[in-house]
Symmetry: C2
Subunit: 517 residues, 2 copies
């Protein structure tokens, strides 16, 4: 895994890069320096003589080259990641820390150097401000932000080194005892981690075609060559008994026995299915879950539930079979399609509503989500709730927030809406019920809707029919004793469960989110 | 369920029958009295005027009629059950207690009465002895034997009433907590038992075609009409993922949900499969196991293991999912084919070798096995062993006695040998190893072989190849760390586990049981 230091001119990429690389015993590469060396000219000379376009071409070349290498500390030029392609190449190879400082600090640092073509000439302050304004969205979009104001390079290095430490979150409940390892670059260390944790024995990695494609393209394939693997077709339509049968056959073909380890590398659908195959192969073998989506990292990979679908409904066949270990690497989120990532945010936001008002507040202003620390904090909400109520007798029902209606919305859309999108709409509708019951003031609903929208989630489903949603809600598993039980917020970080709601209030909320469709 | 009092003339069937019926508030029917009433003549008159053949015809008619009724106390004539057909009709309807007394006692009682045509004329003692000698095998063949010597009818009634009490055997181990109910007539009381034990909710009974046929023929169908049921094809070839899928579909069709109860009515194959379907439907619903074979009553229904086969091997897919209750009714054993029942005896005998020297001694002279008390005692061996070693770290391996070689024999026969037959041969071979190791004197082996043969089990497999058996043993699941571990007897009631055996001793034992094939 590479460490990429990014940020505006003067943010300290080069000085911090040198310090950090020395501490880690790695090579530091300043992309601009590399470009200048290769061109035999300074950057201002390239700009002046060949033009910015030529410089950007050289820069892309260097980004692709560095992204194909490993274990470097890299400082791309301040504008390098304006190109989506450059960004993808580097983000696939490692973690980006965006170094930040206010304009005044940046200007003071830059006045010492003279090789910044974009700020050359008169009024550098004005130019810098214009540049910062133009690039703010880009700089803000990295989950790892590091302030370098009043910090020495060594101090900044310490911060970065700390953030590189993997999080080890223990989950300890009756019948559910394992660790969750979460950190940058854990995926490429998978074989070593298994060895360190004594998860040895005949091992088979199962993934799907989508994940395999991204692996194959990047350096992460290196580890795949060291583990026998099976690639399944991707998608919920394959989460069925036929694929299960294929898995058993592959297990036997690869010589798995009772002492084996099965690794699920994929999203919730794959994890459910591989976990269930592990639960039932030879009455249960150990498995390791390596979630690759935001949704599965913060939610689906936790709790020990596994299963497959039947034509009659989702997850109708399953078992409780917790993995021996969950390994989450935030870097894999960089390869997710935007809509997929947004969908995962619904569960993230739900968790903050259940038990983390502070992270909810953070989300109200945050431009990015997905740092190891943010993920660890968010998934800890589910860990706490599961630990507190291992037998699903009480508080665990709060995790259904947004789901009572959300499942109905998801089903009514014919599963055209992603789970997370449906949950966002469900959250909206359930907040309206809470408003109606006078439990939650409308301001809370407005704040939640703002956060949902901020992260690209829908809050309405205009095409769907109220009666259809309502009917599919009734068929939902959360029903008990014939009556729908809701989890409803009383405020941010305070959710009440087991609530029955007058039928007309449910209908009213559904009318509001569908626009009366 | 009827109570049938049988035995030689003078054994007290009528007097005990009257007393017992009065105590139970039931109707007592003396078959001979019924025949005489209908004929308007005494039994001696029928014999004299119409001949014995005509009497036997009338007797069969009455047996069929009484066997179709319920809740009677019935005393068939002393020779009535010489006819297999009569016996089957009555045994399907209830439990037979065979009342016994020595010839002297019988004669003393009979001298008081004068209506016994078979003993009429001179030398009644000689005639009685001849009759007893001719019918000894028949009388001995009933598992329930009751001595009436020096006992009043009231005292005999008490003994019978005690034997009619169901046995309730608790199984208490980590993750394995349920009762085993064992008693005559429990099958027809199934719906009531479920209610009493609060095993309520949408309920579905699953059985197979063979069982369904016997049910349909007898009065036991009465309960089937009160429970929704599904009938699967019978046989291990259907214990697969396809049948599992069918089961899930039936569960949904019958409206089962998470609060449902699934009942498996059948042998080990059906119990394994239905148990696994219950284990995995909606991540696990409760199930009740109602074993209908000797093998499943004393062995397969205990321990919580469920599963289905794959084309590549048996029980490769499965789960640990103990039933909420096991209900065994010895009456269903009466409908088993003789070979099936004999096969079950292999595990019965194995249990006595592991931990019940007293019952082993009983088997050395017993002509019949299958009373509720015998079954309860025998299955308690497995219960004790499982409780003592719930995690299969130690003594539970003694249950593999006969199986290390037996599985190889079973597989080498292409599963043409029944499991129990293969285990009998395996027991033989493993005893020879124990002899060879000087652990067990050859006399023990001779005694075990005598008991196996007494109950109709094979001890050799002349058609099979030594090398083939040996190869299939290696593929067996009991292998751990590459080395075969045997459980071997050191004496009756004393089995040692985890024994490795020199290869030549294994081969020698296989040569002996195959005759060097």
């Amino acid at each position: 895994m590479n460490i990429i230091l990014y940020g505006p001119p003067g943010s300290g990429k080069t000085t911090v890069g040198h310090t950090l690389a020395a501490q880690l015993g790695r090579t530091f590469i300043d992309a601009d320096v590399l470009i200048a060396e290769r061109a035999g000219r300074t950057i201002p000379q390239i700009f002046a003589e060949a033009g910015e376009a030529e410089f950007r071409r050289m820069e892309s070349e260097v980004c692709a080259e560095l992204g194909a290498q490993n274990n470097l500390v890299i400082a791309p030029g301040g504008g390098a990641l304006l190109s989506e392609a450059n960004r993808r190449k580097l983000e696939k190879s490692g973690v980006v820390f965006c170094l930040r400082a206010d304009a005044e600090t940046l200007l003071a640092r830059l006045s010492a150097a003279g090789d910044r073509p974009l700020l050359a000439g008169p009024n550098p302050a004005e130019k810098l401000n214009a540049l910062l304004a133009a690039r703010r969205t880009l700089y803000d979009s990295f989950p790892e932000q590091v302030s370098t104001v009043d910090q020495s390079p060594a101090q900044v290095s310490v911060v970065i080194l700390e953030r590189l430490q993997p999080h080890e979150i223990p989950l300890r409940a009756p019948g559910l005892q394992h660790d969750i390892l979460l950190g940058y670059g854990l995926l490429e260390r998978l074989p070593e981690i298994l060895r360190e944790r004594e998860l040895t024995g005949p091992t088979l990695l199962v993934t799907d075609e989508n994940i395999f494609r991204t692996l194959d393209a990047g350096r992460q394939k290196t580890f795949a060559h060291r583990l026998p693997s099976v690639v399944l077709p991707a998608g919920e339509q394959h989460k069925n008994l036929a694929t299960l049968e294929r898995l058993y056959t592959e297990f036997l073909k690869h010589g798995l026995d009772r002492n084996s380890i099965v690794i699920a590398l994929g999203g919730g659908v794959l994890g459910d299915m591989v976990g269930f195959a592990a639960a039932t192969f030879m009455r249960g073998v150990r498995w390791v879950n390596v979630p690759t989506t935001l949704l599965s990292m913060v939610d689906a990979s936790l709790g020990g539930k596994t299963g497959v679908d039947l034509p009659q409904g989702k997850n109708l066949v399953g078992a409780f079979h917790p993995p021996a270990l969950v390994i989450s690497d935030p870097l894999v989120l960089n390869t997710l399609p935007t809509a997929e990532r947004a969908a995962g945010m619904a569960e993230v936001i739900k968790h903050t509503l259940i038990d983390d008002a502070e992270q909810f507040a953070e989300l109200e202003t945050a431009s990015a989500f997905g740092s190891a620390a943010q993920l660890a904090r968010n998934l800890s909400v589910k860990v706490r709730v599961v630990q507190e109520d291992p037998f699903e007798k009480g508080r665990r029902a709060t995790l259904n927030l947004g789901h009572t209606i959300g499942h109905g919305v998801e089903a009514a859309s014919g599963y055209q809406l992603r789970h997370g999108e449906a949950i966002a709409i469900g959250l909206h509708a359930e907040l309206l019920i809470a408003n109606n019951l006078k439990w939650t003031p409308p301001e809370i609903t407005e704040r939640v809707l703002a956060v949902l929208r901020r992260f690209g989630l829908p809050t309405h489903c205009p095409g769907l029919e109220v009666a259809h949603i309502r009917q599919l809600m009734s068929a939902d598993k959360k029903k008990s004793g014939g009556q729908l039980k809701f989890a409803l917020p009383r405020g941010v970080g305070d959710v009440v469960w087991g609530v029955t709601v007058p039928e007309d209030m449910i209908m009213e909320a559904l009318w509001a989110v569908t626009g009366g469709g």
